[in-house]
Symmetry: C2
Subunit: 235 residues, 2 copies
Amino acid sequence: MSVPKFAQIKEFILENIQSGEWQENDRVPSENELTSQFQVSRMTARRALSELTDAGILTRSQGQGTFVASFKSQSSLLEIKNIADEVKARNSNYSCTILVMESISAIAPIAIALGVEVDSHVYRSVIVHNENEQPLQVEERFVNPALAKDYLQQDFHSLTPHEYLSQNAPLTEARHTVEAIMPNQEMCEWLNLYNEEPCLQVIRRTWSSQGIVSFARLVSPGSKYRLGGHLTFKK
Amino acid sequence: MSVPKFAQIKEFILENIQSGEWQENDRVPSENELTSQFQVSRMTARRALSELTDAGILTRSQGQGTFVASFKSQSSLLEIKNIADEVKARNSNYSCTILVMESISAIAPIAIALGVEVDSHVYRSVIVHNENEQPLQVEERFVNPALAKDYLQQDFHSLTPHEYLSQNAPLTEARHTVEAIMPNQEMCEWLNLYNEEPCLQVIRRTWSSQGIVSFARLVSPGSKYRLGGHLTFKK
DNA sequence: CAACTCATCTTGTATATACAAGAAAATTAT
DNA sequence: ATAATTTTCTTGTATATACAAGATGAGTTG
């Protein structure tokens, strides 16, 4: 047996999720439905669903069924995701200022990071995220236009770029680096920094099944922002 | 049935690991052994082992058996762990300089972070980790003496503090914060920084089942060190 | 109409069984 | 003694079966 049956069923489910066919909170086939679709025993179908549930990709509820998990519950480092939620969770006022929305010609490093040809057009946005009207983070983002045609037409006051992108091209992979930098003058203005101070910079590249979606640079003043991580061994 | 059998077996295994009874890479009972010990079917014993394996706590190998996983393979952010390995993986020369090894009286913030009484004695060490004889990271660590009596007698040239501690009091939980700071003068000297530059500071607190083990502060120059993270959705 | 009961669909737990395949030790043959 | 074979122990895959328990809607009863 080259590839086990339970693994085939897992792949089938993952493909449907990654293609966007099954969205967040959608119901996936029940154990009995998979049993007849794939001509396997219930225990085999169950194994596929259980393992994807343990991996955080599905959620199950006795009596109701099995559903595609929401991406929020994904993983530790990706908590660096939605700064709007983070601010609201602190009972602070969230707002954002959109500084740049444009289509530019990709110079070499950006083209390479996005996996497109040099001098081809890519989208660029610069957004300042505020907590109680004070700048907290600058988000500079370069987007592969092939995977998000309407990017420049979005209103990012109501929906963050990350939310928009993950709805249009379900992401399958993300890579981060975190470093400490000294902001340049432009960045100081954006962040309203009168005295120079070190900043935390997160670079994030995200992939979908069709390729690299976007490349973001998130810069926050060291005095106002820190990253948290938490690990438990047990359970 | 209040608590399922497979869950009881999982607890049994976890307790043995957390107590230090079963160390890294030790063998755990086979499916058949658990079957007779707990009077369950092989499938139930198997479920306990499989789920702990999926959780990264055990590793299994067909024909050989099931073993306690090494903590290296634990999780994404904990990769911030062993800087010695990181340097060696880059084919660079690793060395370290031990600056301080002492027993001090805990001032309030340190006592609170360690969960001990103010003015009680705690251990403190300061170590500089070098890559090719250049300072890469300063590790300042405060240790709860109740959980690591021989801490000051160790030779940390051969064994890192983290390795020593996790052998003596198996860790069950870790919490990190990452931030960007400007180093003070003492830190600049330790890191050999002539010009001020922003640094990445990681604060890590680690727990064992008996309480807070230690509290570490890891500082690296922004120009020489960055943190990496990687997330995959698939599989 | 409202409340209750019941049938049905869902996931959850547990067992007994069968065969496959990798690894290592014991046995046998050279 | 060494090499090849066999046995045994391990995990891996797959099925059929049984009963428990949560959720939901249909039908019955008051």
